[in-house]
Symmetry: C2
């Protein structure tokens, strides 16, 4: 597939295509054309030769990689109470990352201000100020319209509704900015960094809220923009709890971190955050363990029809609650108990390979895809 300079760069960036010959095989172009193009790309400073690889029975391949000076992107994971940020090179390698506190409830203006400060500091610390910044990827903990690059109808995010964070950041920085929902980004991140050769994956992010991202045939599935929502699926529980959506039996109202904290508080146990909740579980506090296990069972029951229906290669469990072993075990149990053998036979159920970085890395991956698919490659080539 493909037949242009951009395709070659993309293949190298994704980690396939490590030599001219391999690029020729993967791109479908003639070896001679690939050689010419690669030479140009090296001349333009986009690619770089990186020693020789192992022979496979003939001449050793001259390995190719993206030139580290070609540029960087910044990936941001905006959480409810924190901001995680990283600088990535064009191959998706993390050059520097860190986490800072930050309340999303402070509103978009204040958050953007802090993001920009952070971003400049991060670029300085990573010592890449002299390299071109090619794009920024931002994950938000709420529904996102990726076209307009803004948050829509969020709960727990006062002031953010319809705020065009993408356009604002883009104007202020002068670079491409992509915005996406955090659960979707977790799926993208886990797919790229954890299961790159599995085509169908779903990632469940169980933290303060519950979300799900879907990778179909290697690409993020957005549906009409709301795909992956599992938080308001009805579950069968003895006592109803009113959810923000108006129903009383939503998964989110009974199994999210917020719901569990509420229940514990009613039992006289104050919990400050999802991480605190997991600490209680790992410390063996029975009330917490019971609750978390029950949450896992409910989530698992919701996932059963989805796994049968979607029949993925991998089910990734991420978010705060996934750090609690009973939660993961309960999800696994519910799935294996009730899904079709055909659906579970080759199914991997795993916790997030990239842990707390998943969303941030997903943001990086998404913006990298955008950058490498843009005219930037051709423009850089043309500029010699």
């Amino acid at each position: 597939m493909g037949g242009s300079a951009g395709d070659l760069v993309r293949l190298v960036a994704k980690g396939h295509g490590r030599s001219r010959a391999e690029l020729a095989r993967l791109s479908g172009m003639a070896p001679s054309s690939v050689s010419l193009r690669v030479e140009e790309l090296i001349e333009a400073g986009l690619l770089r030769e990186d020693g020789e690889g192992a022979s496979r029975g003939g001449r050793r391949p001259r390995q190719l990689r993206l030139h580290e000076n070609a540029g960087v992107v910044v990936a941001v994971d905006v959480g409810t109470h924190h901001v995680r940020m990283a600088v990535l090179d064009l191959a998706g390698r993390v050059l520097l990352e860190h986490e800072l506190p930050g309340e999303i409830a402070e509103g978009p203006e204040r958050v953007i201000e802090r993001l920009l400060d952070n971003l400049r500091m991060t670029l300085r610390q990573a010592e890449v100020e002299h390299l071109p910044l090619l794009g920024v990827g931002i994950g938000m903990p709420g529904p996102v319209d990726p076209g307009a690059a803004k948050v829509v109808a969020p709960s727990r995010m006062p002031g953010w509704n319809d705020f065009p964070i993408g356009r604002r950041m883009s104007e202020l920085l002068g670079v491409r900015v992509v915005v996406e929902n955090d659960a979707n980004l977790m799926a993208v991140g886990e797919h790229r960094y954890g299961w790159p050769d599995r085509d169908n994956l779903m990632a469940v992010k169980a933290g303060t809220g519950i979300g799900c991202g879907i990778i179909v045939s290697g690409r993020l599935h957005r549906g009409r923009g709301a795909a992956g929502d599992i938080s308001h699926v009805p579950v069968h529980v003895p006592e109803p709890v009113t959810c923000s959506c108006g129903h009383s039996d939503c998964l989110e109202a009974h199994a999210s971190g917020a719901a569990l904290r509420r229940i514990l508080r009613a039992q006289g146990i104050e919990v400050s955050s999802s991480r605190h909740l997991v600490d209680l579980v790992n410390d063996g506090v029975p009330e917490a363990t019971t609750l978390v296990r029950n949450a896992g069972r409910l989530a698992g029951q919701v996932l059963v029809p989805l796994v049968n229906f979607f029949n993925p290669d991998v089910l990734v469990l991420g978010g705060g609650l996934s750090a609690a072993e009973p939660f993961v075990a309960a999800v696994r149990g519910a799935i294996y108990e009730r899904c079709l053998p055909l659906a579970t036979r080759d199914l991997e159920i795993a916790t997030a390979v990239t842990g707390r970085d998943a969303c941030m890395l997903g943001a990086g991956s998404l913006v990298l895809d955008e950058v490498l698919a843009s005219e930037w490659v051709d423009d850089t080539l043309a500029a010699r």
Copy 2:
């Protein structure tokens, strides 16, 4: 996208690309190259000029279509008690179709024998014996492994397990044969003939059994081969009924045509087929109507999480039960009552546009895609 003769033929076949200029726009090739290629394709007898179209403010386009003598494919829908068959031209137009009785329980050898007889007769009746037969698409009412082109682990299909129907038919006919599950084919057929410009669609086939096919980004989603299974999702019902899978609360055990007939028989009402059941409903037999409405409600409840999760553009209801208005109304009701507004806002819920032909047309569409993506186009061109 694309850049070869095959792509042009595909574009014309799909109904996009009706003139040289349009082909150039859609294929990305230069207008001059398209002109040259089209000329060759006309010379080779694959395309044909078909008068002039309406002007759009300039010169009128010289419309292109596939030459009707280029070849045909045969589409087969093997049901439990019938076989439907059609001859299609390369653009997917039905030249002739008919339905014959046929018991799948007679086993593969006997069914194949009858299929071949039917096929020869059909080609004769359609007066296309002199045209090349380029492929056969077959729909089977059970799980299919499309790679091996055989049925796997079927219920209600004695003797069919692991039978390589695709290879056998292919050997006997000397042409490409594709085999696929009937619900998947319903999705393909409805997508192509009913909702060609909607990218995400799910089709529920509620007949003797209950199945579901999924179109994601315009292409059939198979997952690991079992995607779309909704028949063994647990539903909440007062009295358990043992399903073939060993559980007692599967959707199929309570809402499939077979289940409804069983329940009616226990009430002393004998029903011979799903069609008979629908007749009873339309005749206003209250027991039947109540049952069918309840089945719709159960199916709808199962679909709620799937619609939220997948967020499709269209939900197609097909199969025998979809001819019963109370069934459709109950599904609609359950979805609108409980799905997210974001998921239902732009959702179309419709009965199958192509009615009982959906699976058969899907089989035709699938084999056409295969044929037009194969080397056949280039070979025909090379053969002058």
